[in-house]
């Protein structure tokens, strides 16, 4: 369990927003080729205030307010990346990935391969996922499955301030394109982060809680749902393991399979829509790798297959809850 406890020396409790801000500040300081471009990222520091203060330290030349041109800024970021820079393109809402798919998928993801390894695109796209903010159908999607399906892209989904900082720094230093998703609801979530600098490797899952009876494979926002469900399961005497892949690409298949082999029962949690989403790949990987050790089918908890509705009484039904996951897991362990 890599998650740090504040008891440790030189560890502070900071919010995920602060962690992201620190990661960007450190990389901007360390490497003059790093810059940030996006809508309202400078003085406004983004609508989520995640980038507050960066423009003051690094200036408008390295923290650029752009027109409302997602495709354009991603293309410019790509061209800059191909010629010696390390851009961080800020796509305010993950829902706006719809506008940059050509730049990200047909261009950035493929340029290294298509050039036989001669061109590189060290481009980081930072964006968001997650519902339940009463933002309705065009500001609540979790579209990470799309980019995870595209060879050439790496995809990171931090769930804690510690992971957010370490994975973002790794993304910026990666020589290829990385799409990193942060849950809008998690920006205020606090967690331990060391004082000293660190990065986190891609492709290494993190066991957020160890357990024996059932594995809860959870991404991003769903890690908290899984941890809460694990608490409730514990009261029933069911020991749940919560494992967070942290990056979908590369994916730590071994760790997921190992956990499944150990527990024999798996629930996959992901906030993307259920059908043809990330939860399907995670379930398929476990099903392939741990088949002969599974005591029950791999179940999935994901967003309902409906556009996210505005009305709270409707929206709150669309995203997995700890109660729901608790029930699913308990049914697997055959106690219900």
């Amino acid at each position: 369990m890599s998650t740090l406890s504040p008891e440790q020396a030189g560890v502070r409790e900071i919010s995920l927003a602060q962690a992201v801000n620190e990661a960007l500040a450190e990389e901007l300081r360390r490497d003059p080729t790093v810059f940030v471009i996006g809508e309202d990222v400078a003085e406004a520091g983004t609508p989520f205030k995640v980038l507050s203060g960066l423009v003051d330290e690094f200036g408008a030349g390295r923290v650029l307010d752009s027109p409302i041109s997602e495709a354009g800024i991603t293309g410019i970021g790509l061209g800059a990346a191909m010629t010696g820079m390390r851009p961080v393109v800020d796509i305010m809402f993950g829902d706006f990935l719809t506008l940059v798919m050509d730049q990200v998928v047909n261009q950035a993801a493929k340029v290294h391969y298509m050039s036989g390894g001669r061109l590189r695109a060290p481009l980081t796209v930072r964006t968001t996922l997650g519902a339940t903010r009463r933002s309705a159908a065009q500001h609540s999607q979790s579209l990470h499955a799309w980019v995870a399906h595209v060879p050439g892209l790496k995809v990171a989904l931090p769930s804690t301030p510690y992971d957010a900082k370490g994975l973002l720094k790794t993304a910026i230093r990666d020589d290829g394109p990385v799409v990193l998703f942060e849950d809008k609801m998690m920006f205020a979530t606090k967690g331990p982060v060391p004082d000293e600098e660190y990065t986190l490797p891609f492709g290494v899952a993190d066991v957020k809680r160890t357990g024996e009876d059932v594995s809860l494979v959870a991404t991003s926002s769903m890690v908290y749902v899984a941890l809460q469900a694990a608490e409730e399961l514990a009261c029933e005497g069911i020991s749940a393991e919560v494992i967070d892949p942290r990056t979908l690409v590369p994916l730590d298949r071994e760790a997921l399979v190992a956990s499944a082999v150990k527990t024999g029962r798996v629930v996959v949690l992901d906030e993307g829509h259920r059908s043809f989403g990330a939860s399907a790949e995670l379930a398929a990987v476990v099903g392939e790798g741990a088949f002969y050790h599974l005591d029950a089918p791999v179940l999935r908890a994901a967003a309902m297959d409906v556009p996210i509705p505005f009305s709270p009484v409707l929206e709150d039904q669309t995203v997995p809850t700890a109660e729901g996951v608790f029930e699913l897991a308990r049914s697997l362990v055959g106690r219900s």
């Binding site: 809508e39 309202d40 400078a42 003085e43 406004a44 609508p47 307010d65 752009s66 027109p67 409302i68 041109s69 495709a71 354009g72 829902d95 706006f96 506008l99 903010r133 009463r134 933002s135 309705a136 159908a137 065009q138 500001h139 309902m304 297959d305 409906v306 556009p307 509705p309 505005f310 009305s311 709270p312 009484v313 409707l314 039904q317 669309t318």
Partner: protein, 329 residues
């Protein structure tokens, strides 16, 4: 500084009064929306149209009920101006079943099919294609309907706008692009995001452009009337560039604005360029309307809107089972 009263070219008092009532309705509606937010009685956020009322009203008064509009995240004004009922709008903003979208859309997706409002849109520039396609459809179906595409100047950053303007011009589609230049893309002044001359952009695609004072409802109405007549006659698209200003924040939560615009700027617009004050002043001074009758309109609308918000607050939420209805027709 009091608002200077200028003759509102060729405005009939009747039309002036009707537009005054509509603008007042929008203003009052929005003030209640702000209150609902501040009282934590409305889910989510909303983008207030206060200060820009003359654009929506001036344009929509030039339209027929069966004409189409597409709207934006700042869409309450367009929706009301096209004929929506206040109570059903409040219901939508509160996520109630009686709302225009049964609570599924909310402020950023409010649509009013019966009145030709094809919907607000939470994607900047996201309705440019829809409006242009509605115009294509009107022509293909042999009607003389017109489609109006409302958008903020920030949407000038979205490439799809140029793609569809090109086709609207090529195919002479009956669409009017109405750009509401309120000077800001969220928290950034449009001059930092917009190169060259805005009016030259549609012109480059062969689309005639008219620039109007968006605070002068009669000017907006006159320009819109010309553009709509042109579209209906089959002479193709037009572009109205309206200079306006949002008096409140980008959204209801945007209270401290000093880092991107000055209190002085806000005050000068509110005191000198308030579209309601300008029209009210003209109606009283030149339109032969007494201050009392204007007062009466305000009182009636205040009562109407208060009753509507009260009813909406009492209205039931949709049945939870509706969550998976309307995914597929």
């Amino acid at each position: 500084m009091a608002t200077e009263v200028r003759p509102l070219a060729g405005l009939s008092p009747e039309l002036g009064l009707r537009m005054y009532a509509q603008m007042q309705r929008i203003r009052t509606f929005e003030e209640h929306v702000n209150e609902l937010y501040r009282g934590a009685r409305m889910p989510g956020l909303a983008h207030l149209y206060i200060g820009e009322e003359a654009v929506a009203v001036g344009v929509c008064e030039a339209l027929r009920k069966d004409d189409y509009i597409t709207s934006t995240h700042r869409g309450h004004g367009h929706c009301l101006a096209k004929g929506a009922a206040v109570e059903r709008m409040f219901c939508e903003l509160l996520g109630k079943e009686a709302g225009y979208c049964r609570g599924k859309g909310g402020s950023m997706h409010i649509a009013d099919h019966e009145n030709g409002n094809l919907g607000a849109n939470a994607i900047v520039g996201g309705s440019a294609g829809i409006a242009t396609g509605a115009a294509f459809s009107a022509r293909a179906r042999g009607t003389d309907q017109v489609a109006v595409c409302f958008f903020g100047e920030g949407a000038l950053g979205q490439g799809v706008l140029y793609e569809v303007m090109n086709m609207a011009s090529l195919w002479k589609l009956p669409v009017v692009y109405v750009c509401e230049n309120n000077l800001y893309n969220e928290y950034t002044h449009y001059s930092e995001t917009t190169a060259g001359d805005i009016a030259a952009r549609p012109a480059a695609f062969g689309i005639p452009v008219e620039e109007v004072d968006g605070q002068d409802v009669s000017a907006v109405h006159a320009a819109a009337t010309r553009a709509v007549a042109r579209a209906r006659a089959g002479d193709g698209p037009s572009f109205l560039l309206c200079r306006t200003y949002r008096f409140h924040g980008h959204h209801v939560g945007d209270v401290d604005r000093s880092y991107y615009r000055s209190k002085e700027e806000e005050a000068s617009w509110a005191e000198e360029r308030d579209p309601l004050a300008i029209l009210g002043g003209w109606l009283a001074a030149e339109g032969g309307t007494s201050r009392e009758s204007l007062q009466r309109i305000e009182t009636e609308i205040a009562a109407e809107v208060e009753a509507a918000v009260a009813a909406a607050l009492e209205a039931p939420f949709p049945d939870p089972d509706e969550v998976d209805q309307h995914v597929y027709p």
